[in-house]
Amino acid sequence: MEAESSAAGAAAGAASTVVPLEVVYCGVCSLPPEYCEFGATVKKCMDWLEGNHAGLYQTLYSSEALESKMGTMTLEAQQKAEKDLAKKQQKEELRQEREAAKKKSSVVTIKRVERTKRKYVTVVSGIEAFELGYKTVAKEFGKKFACGSSVTKNAAGGEEITVQGDLSDEILEELVEKYGIEEENIRQVEESKKKGGGG
């Protein structure tokens, strides 16, 4: 703490030569590593730091560092903080598990809808489960396939991408290749206005 104030004093004295500090940010939780311990992904953060910045890992997580940083907190407050943190971590783990499961079970639907006898639009829905934005993906589709592509609201209140033209196979390929969605998570559906007709 003294060092900081003296550093600030020195900097004020030689202000013209202020050099920006390079700060390492954790690759897992994006915070400066010294704050990882307050996040919910401490274990992963530690592993990452050990692999990528071994020196920093030593200074932050060596046993002396762990002891000294307890600092001025009372024992009671410490225990409370630890309890809270453990709870948070558990929650985070659960959340991640749930998300992974959800990702596995969720399906992207590519629907070919007949507009007139020989014209089709392709409707893509369900990509939000894969952390994709409708707006950006719609734009990409428009660019890639050189066609009209927009985000529309469907009857259920959700959003979907409407691409003009029959592009279901191309979109399937694109989703797998560019956005990394497993093929088994994509379903192709055909929908015609007259039952049994079309196709």
Binding site: A11, L21, V23, S30, P32, G39, G71, T72
Partner: protein, 181 residues
């Protein structure tokens, strides 16, 4: 302010005259930053304005938010800038117990600023109410929050009760995550 992820509605380029104004304002607000303003905000650079909900304006350079401003309030730096130039901003320090609350987005209460692990500027360096401050933490090297003083630092010492600093931007909030993605 950024507890939720920021949903921006597009960005626009800022006129160079407006940009000059912003630059000047920043210099006025953070006199210590003036020597390095050219590094932070090069004269020729094209700033972008990103509008966020609730009248929040984000000033970005190369897709990285540098400063943000609520309506016409004080301009505040992004934490990344504070990390790079920690000596250029007025700083107060909180004790270790407060860190986890800050990272959860809580307002900063006075006792966290007056306990043994915390540090406030000396009486002669009193910071008035409304000053934008970087919040450092006990035993940590980097700032973890940007806030506005709700009362002067002397008042914090005297009263030692209630809300001392308004939490505007903290590590891991929506604004922080928006940048690191």
């Amino acid at each position: 302010m950024f507890k939720k992820p920021v949903s921006s509605s597009g960005k626009t380029k800022i006129k160079s005259s407006v940009q000059r104004n912003i630059r000047q304002k920043i210099c006025e607000q953070f006199p210590l930053l003036e020597p390095v303003i050219d590094d932070v905000l090069p004269k020729k650079a094209q700033l972008d304005l990103i509008k966020a909900p609730e009248r929040m304006s984000l000033y970005a350079l190369d897709n990285q938010v540098l400063f943000f401003q609520h309506h016409n309030d004080a301009i505040m730096p992004h934490l990344r800038i504070v990390h790079k130039y920690p000596q250029c901003f007025p700083t107060v320090q909180v004790d270790r117990g407060a860190i986890r609350f800050i990272l959860g987005g809580a307002q900063l209460m006075c006792p966290g600023l007056t306990s043994p692990g915390a540090k406030l500027p000396p009486p002669e360096g009193n910071l008035p109410e409304g000053t934008v401050v970087a919040i450092n933490a006990e035993g940590k090297e980097h700032a973890c929050m940007i806030g506005v003083l709700k009362m002067s630092t002397e008042d914090i010492k005297k009263l030692n009760k209630g809300n001392g600093v308004e939490n505007c931007h903290y590590l891991g909030d929506g604004l922080w995550k928006m940048d690191s993605e």
